[in-house]
Symmetry: D2
Subunit: 279 residues, 4 copies
């Protein structure tokens, strides 16, 4: 059982939350807290064994609401054994999609993938090899609203809780994000450097000595969403743009997989455009 709580800071909160878990018979396995003094906010993540916990699943929403009211904050309760339904979005590049599907198959990522959506047909065989349903939804400028509508229907039909953009080379509209806000993306630069298109080309032109990747939550402001994880890899004058792209694939795969794993274990809390990552 995992509780994520965010509320105004005041003395006694750790004691109050830990006391609430203990009073209901929960044995705390991990507890981590953070106070943002500037924002006056207290963030907490507490994980405890479901075994022996006194509240039934049915009673949890009400209990969480009571906590929220008492602390004037926002609480989320998650079951540690949950396997959220996640859709992966892709375009033509295989590496991130392939990596995620393999990690799901090998048990590294506690999630189900009922659906892969792509705007190109290239990756269908890869999905077939993993036994994962693949739907191609082409996107053109003129048809983008219809395409997004179709994707939203697919997400709804498949009861998808989270979308992961695994090198999906399309920008999701603000309208889409309002209707389906839980989206993680991998950007191929150490943001905020090289926001926007073709970061590797621009990194080569600038002559940087390291390239990077950034996994972040998607917001309407392109490449400005809360950052979850960043990785870098050294490059040199010997590397041309193709080498940067090749080296970047490994760092993209790792950054996305790590970010997604932390998200799934509910180690990431978002507030004020930033994340606290209780890893």
């Amino acid at each position: 059982m995992i509780l994520q709580m965010i509320c105004p800071d005041r003395p006694g909160l750790v004691s109050e939350l830990a006391g609430w878990v203990a009073a209901n018979g929960g044995n705390i396995r991990h507890a981590d807290h953070h106070t943002d003094a500037g924002a006056g906010l207290f963030l907490s993540r507490i994980e405890w064994d479901l075994d022996g916990f006194g509240l039934s699943r049915a009673a949890l929403p009400e209990a969480a609401a009571a906590l929220e009211q008492r602390l004037n904050g926002q609480a989320q309760l998650h079951f540690s054994d949950a396997m959220p339904r996640v859709a992966i979005f892709a375009s033509k590049q295989a590496h991130c999609l392939q990596d995620l599907l393999w990690r799901v198959q090998s048990g590294e990522l506690p999630m189900q993938v009922p659906l892969v959506i792509a705007n190109h047909p290239d990756l269908e065989p890869l999905c077939a090899g993993f036994g994962v349903c693949f739907v191609c939804v082409p996107v053109a400028k003129a048809t983008k609203p219809e395409a997004e509508q179709r994707m939203l229907e697919l997400l709804a039909e498949n009861r998808i809780e989270l979308a992961v953009l695994a090198k999906y080379m399309q920008v999701l509209s603000g309208d889409f994000l309002q209707r389906f806000p839980d989206v993680i993306n991998i950007h191929h630069s150490f943001l905020p450097a090289f926001k926007g298109a073709q970061p590797y080309h621009r990194a080569w032109e600038r002559g940087v000595k390291l390239i990077g990747a950034t996994a972040h939550y998607v917001t309407e402001d392109l490449d400005d969403g809360p950052i979850i994880e960043q990785t870098t890899v050294p490059v040199s004058h010997r590397d041309d743009v193709d080498d940067l792209i090749r080296k970047g694939r490994d760092t993209e795969r790792l950054a996305l997989a790590r970010a997604l794993r932390m998200h799934l274990h509910r180690q990431v809390m978002v507030y004020r455009g930033r994340t606290a990552v209780f890893a």
Copy 2:
């Protein structure tokens, strides 16, 4: 105020400790816990503001003893504003000593250095430049017991609480360590590789592609003490032994400074030959 507690694991401990702080009027700023399931142990580090805390300094030892008895564990209470008296041991190499003295001077390391002990006179001018007392205690095989006796006296006279071996190229005897157990060392390899003498020479011979440094608590078993921090740096066939030594200096400096800083902030807890580092 920082509490470090280690005790047998059982439900309710987080709540109990946080409740104890809250009951005495303490506002928790950081709290971190770890359960070692195999060992059946619970480790906790809680930090709170001294402002408004209800127990006087004089009342603390008794309060800690009561906590220990209740939880059948070991508690340590530290004042966040403490500036422990630390002796640095060195030989001929300047880099770690110089780095630590500079960090103390610039306020990075919350400690005082009343004393530097060295078995060679070379580093006296460096210490003079920082206004730090330098005592040369030569060590030869035949005179080692007397030398260690002299050093123990110096530590006692100067009320030293911690000794840091900053490239001190002598082995402290078991007898010394029994009488003065709080010692941190920097070893110039990624332990357990290249235990013992001349790790860079042996690293070169083995043809490794990375070298490292390990900061650890000193125990009687040479290079087997609990590890606090490890760092590595890439090397190549172009690097000869002198290059390894040069590159190693930077990674040694960083590993030792980081380990010492975490120790001074009471972020390190030792149990069963290992450390939990609440960084």
Copy 3:
């Protein structure tokens, strides 16, 4: 075209080799050299365009032999467009095998994989998905000589030039290695730490703060072969042995893939139990 030359050091060698390439109409794209002063050896790797090069493929062996005689050294000539036939050995763990097959498929590794050999049947479906021939050769203590004989026959029948041990949990005998010496292995520790079995378990017990992986050429002395590439990843007290194994998979994959890529690009030269890596 790539020339690897190793010979006794003397003045004029760079000029002599570059002159030889130029005299035959080759345009040098990369040239890298290393002198091991202690060993008195000169190592050189020169890469040039095949376009316009005056020697025919048929004339190359004789030309190389002439160079060897003149410089009293050992020369190897490789075609940059070669796609060597590589066999991958595995056991039950999929991650390295899967990663290599995917990199071959995506064009990252210039090699063919006509054959995967495993001592367990588990990975057959994975190979089938990539359209790669899989042969299970079980190994038991009593049958090891026959098993190795069978594997040598498979390597010969398939004209295999290099074997890659991708988490193959068996030790190849000295006899095997004498008959098939070109073998690369991935060991799951930063050698020479944790040589031998169960490095992650022993790393956990020792309480290290980083774990690693080492790709190396295989020799009869277990885990003592020339090191090609090493990587590390930080771990903490929060990681149990399973976490170390999970985190290790990523670093193993990367170390093996990088080492193999450099080997295939003929960037690695072995001498005196060490490697020079012209990356």
Copy 4:
């Protein structure tokens, strides 16, 4: 002896340069080349022993000029035993200056420091401790031209060949740089992220998970000069701006020291706003 040559690419250049060294009796110790296909440029760095080299020091300029004419390029010849005269510029922060002075003193950096220039008086005692001449040249908006004039005179009087900005918090004017172009700077972000002022504050606001430092040659376009070296260090939500500044100090020190060392060993070649670093 080190030759740096940059010229239009054509076949035979490696042979021609190596042949020139050999013809004059030089024994090449290192040779490294790079071809930028897009730019059509060939870059070469060759290092050889001065012992036995047939050209006298006096004859070298003419020899270099002849080479330049023959290859239609730019050649630089450096003596490996040179100890260039370097001025360090600083403001109030000690860490980079202190680190460089210590490395010079310990023989890590082959250079002399006849002069430290600062726009504040704070670091005078530090320089005095190292026996280095310190001149305070305050800079105000109105007096900047005079201040720069004074600094140029100081550089000239002291026959300075290179200026290193070690956290010098003033922008040098284009006029200054035209008259003294050889300047290396350390910027406290992984450029091009957080160009301009207060990068750590902006990094905190953006919520990045790594911070960095960039050592680069200074050009009139602020923070856009050719990058020599970049380093990064992980940060988390626990780090406030002061933590970023503290962690950044270590990565700044390392990036600047490494860049400067490579520059002094003539391993860095600049072309088209980029560097080739033959490390």
